[in-house]
Symmetry: none
Subunit: 458 residues, 2 copies
């Protein structure tokens, strides 16, 4: 009997108990955006501390922050030279509005066929409970071949305002050889996935000021430039007719896609019809010469995130607005420097502003893209996933950014293993969020295989 | 002692009382666009009824409408064959947002030097109170040589939805020989003005829908069209680089300016430097080949009045908005048919919408332009104005539209005398609206002269 069989069998035998704890976690309405839920965040934090105690953590500390506490824990391997795996998770969840669109109350986990429905079921209490169930199953049956560290925050859904400071000031505590972040999800239930690339971001705001106050369009229409029209003209000039970004220098640092990358992206099972169904858009659109999945994962983009000018209430008001404002952001790919991209945009926009108005342009944030096909532990994780599913792993470059992965790399010098067992149609951030339980079960099995897989190395 | 001196002297002697009543009227927050202010509209209506009673009206009736009531009153001349003057006014005001840009609370009338600051001080409670002060001064001292009728509405700032029906169904009640509408303003404090031409208006809303909900710009940036960008591209295509409107057919019905009209417009004392000072714009802008005053008064224009899409709060949110919305309006000149212009715009916009989004375009309102250099009473009014100011009257074609003047002409067969004592820099529809009090005082004097001027005719 191989040692690896013990934790897998233990998990199988005690599945109902693990599912029940997962449901207990989901009952806590830990909505971090809502100050009224502050006590619930503490409650979720306490719940995690109990779980960590019960799986035999050697050290647990809860660090207060200005908002919601950070939980750190360590469970040491018996061998002193074992490598250290740091596991990241968050215990907060998104708000539930609109409540009337939920088929069952968001904090009363409900089983429907293969699905467990509740806020946080997928993002990411389900993933945190997969990790804890895997480690508990190992703890109950086996010696553990890795030192395990845990870092759970309660502010991910509000942008992790306390996390970077915490990591920067606790480098020794968090020192590790590998980082596992199961917040990245899978492309489909039969496609175990490792995300190895994330796009970066530059976010800025453009404001066009014209008259000193809103003007009556009858009295002044025809003699002053309209800031809403000037802003529209600026925005219209940010893209070329072929869907590419028309800002000189925007693509300067973008590396061409290698044939290997193109093949890796083409292996992703998501099709145009899937994207149409998920988005509800009448047709897809984007840069000519690239497939939709290449455009999402491996090409930089520019989007207007918000637009405001003048009168936006019901009915009509005949004004020339005093100003117009746009929030604009770019997703960046590896090798693009957010500062250089922003400078190119600013220079381009400045050159398009007529003397009839005044421009203000302000940068909100910038982060480079992330490429981690060499994250430590990648091969172990890939083997564990493909053994569990009996399928090759999909390696995916993803469109979004996971800032904590960049923070970890910057302060701890370790690239993250980005995976997870959520699916694209889990309705995260929306009503009726759910987790596909057969996928969750496989996820726990894969995590058991991943961690116990290091036994053969020592 | 000429009889005309009595009311002028009476007004001079009781100026403080009239100013105080004017301030009482301004204290009523009669914002017609806001349902929460419904009781305030009734309050403003009651205030007018009290004023009409106190100046000795023979007949007063308040007509309910689906929104805010219409006040009608009559004060008969002692001579049975006296001509009848119908006076139009509105007691509602524009909203006050943005409130934090007001130097004093908008409904606490504040004297600052020569100015009275409050919402409605100029548009048009000040003008209504000028009329009522003039007639009261006459009533206290003189026989009145005209039958006077009053028509005050409370829905002008929301497009007068009840007025046309009311006028159409009360032609006998409103029958008159002349119409005075003091909602038109002056070109400067030393330039008494009669407006003889008004631009028409067509107002519509364009909405671009893309995805079924806001999307995460990381996960979907690059595969769907961004409604805010598509809307910007549509708006950018509404004008040609020379400042003209680029919609095919837009200028089809526009008549060329005659040399006489060009000369009349050139006689207007407003200079480019005045327009720069009033608007605060860094430079003027408009259709090539026409002077600024020609562009305001005699050329059609197109302006964006409001723009909304996605996230417009503080900070950043990385979404592709589900939709984008623009309020757009055109000022029209004589001979342009609002329906034909709207059709040309709709056809043009429809032709520019890509298949990646959905278009909705809705017309809010439309009114043709107006030309009335032969309105009855014009010479009496011009004499009264020029005697009061000691200057010749400016005859002006104005950029705005006054739909009630067209309605009056259609149903009562009388063109309106369009004047008023508001100034171009009164900040109407904007924060810190004010009335220049020395101009208001002269306005009351001119109205006294205008009405009493008919004595010599009987």
């Amino acid at each position: 009997m191989q040692p690896i069989s013990h934790p897998l069998q233990f998990f199988q035998a005690h599945f109902d108990k693990y599912l029940s704890k997962y449901q207990d976690f989901l009952r806590i309405p830990s909505v971090s955006t809502d100050p009224d839920h502050k006590a619930d965040l503490q409650h979720a934090c306490d719940f995690l501390v109990d779980q960590l105690k019960s799986l035999g953590a050697d050290y647990i500390e809860v660090f207060p922050t200005p908002m919601h506490p950070i939980v750190f824990a360590e469970k040491r391997a018996s061998k002193p030279d074992a490598p250290t795996l740091l596991i990241y998770g968050h215990y907060d969840v998104q708000p539930v509005a609109p409540l009337d669109e939920w088929k069952s109350p968001p904090f009363e986990p409900t089983l429907e066929g293969d699905y467990l429905i509740a806020r946080g079921a997928s993002d990411m209490k389900g993933q945190v409970m997969a990790v804890l169930s895997a480690i508990d199953s190992i703890a109950q049956t086996n010696d553990q071949p890795l030192n395990l560290k845990f870092l759970f925050e309660g502010e991910e859904e509000i942008g992790s305002p306390s996390l970077e400071t915490f990591i920067a000031s606790h480098r020794d505590l968090l020192a590790c050889d590998m980082v596992l972040n199961p917040d990245a999800g899978m492309v489909g239930p039969d496609s175990p996935t490792i995300v190895y690339g994330l796009r970066g971001l530059v976010y800025f705001e453009v404001r066009i000021d014209g008259p000193k106050a809103d003007l009556h369009s009858g009295l002044f229409g025809g003699v002053v430039a309209n800031p809403a029209i000037v802003l529209s003209e600026i925005i219209a000039n940010l893209h070329a007719p072929d869907g590419s970004v028309a800002i000189p220098g925007f693509y300067n640092q973008v590396l061409p896609l290698t044939p290997e990358e193109k093949a890796r992206i083409a292996a992703n099972p998501i099709r145009e019809s899937d994207l149409l169904a998920i988005t509800g858009a009448p047709a897809l659109y984007g840069e000519a010469g690239f497939t939709p999945m290449e455009r999402i994962g491996a090409r930089p983009t520019l989007d207007v995130n918000g637009l405001y000018s003048g009168f936006i209430g019901e009915g009509s008001k005949t004004i020339i607005p005093a100003y117009a404002n746009a929030k604009i952001s770019c997703r960046l790919v590896p090798n693009q420097d957010p500062d250089q991209v922003y400078d190119a945009i600013r220079t381009h926009i400045e050159s398009r502003v007529p003397p009839t108005v005044r421009l203000t342009i302000v940068k909100h944030s910038g982060a480079p893209a992330y490429l981690a096909d060499d994250a430590p532990g990648l091969q172990h994780l890939a083997s564990a996933l493909s053994e569990t599913w009996g399928k090759p792993v999909i390696f995916k470059r993803e469109g979004g950014s996971i800032p904590v992965a960049i923070t970890m790399q910057n302060y701890l010098g370790v690239k993250s293993l980005l995976t997870g067992f959520g699916l694209p149609d889990d309705h995260i951030h929306s009503p009726n969020e759910h987790q596909h339980l057969p996928t969750w079960k496989k996820g726990v099995q894969a995590l058991i295989r991943f961690i116990t897989g290091f036994e053969h190395e020592s």
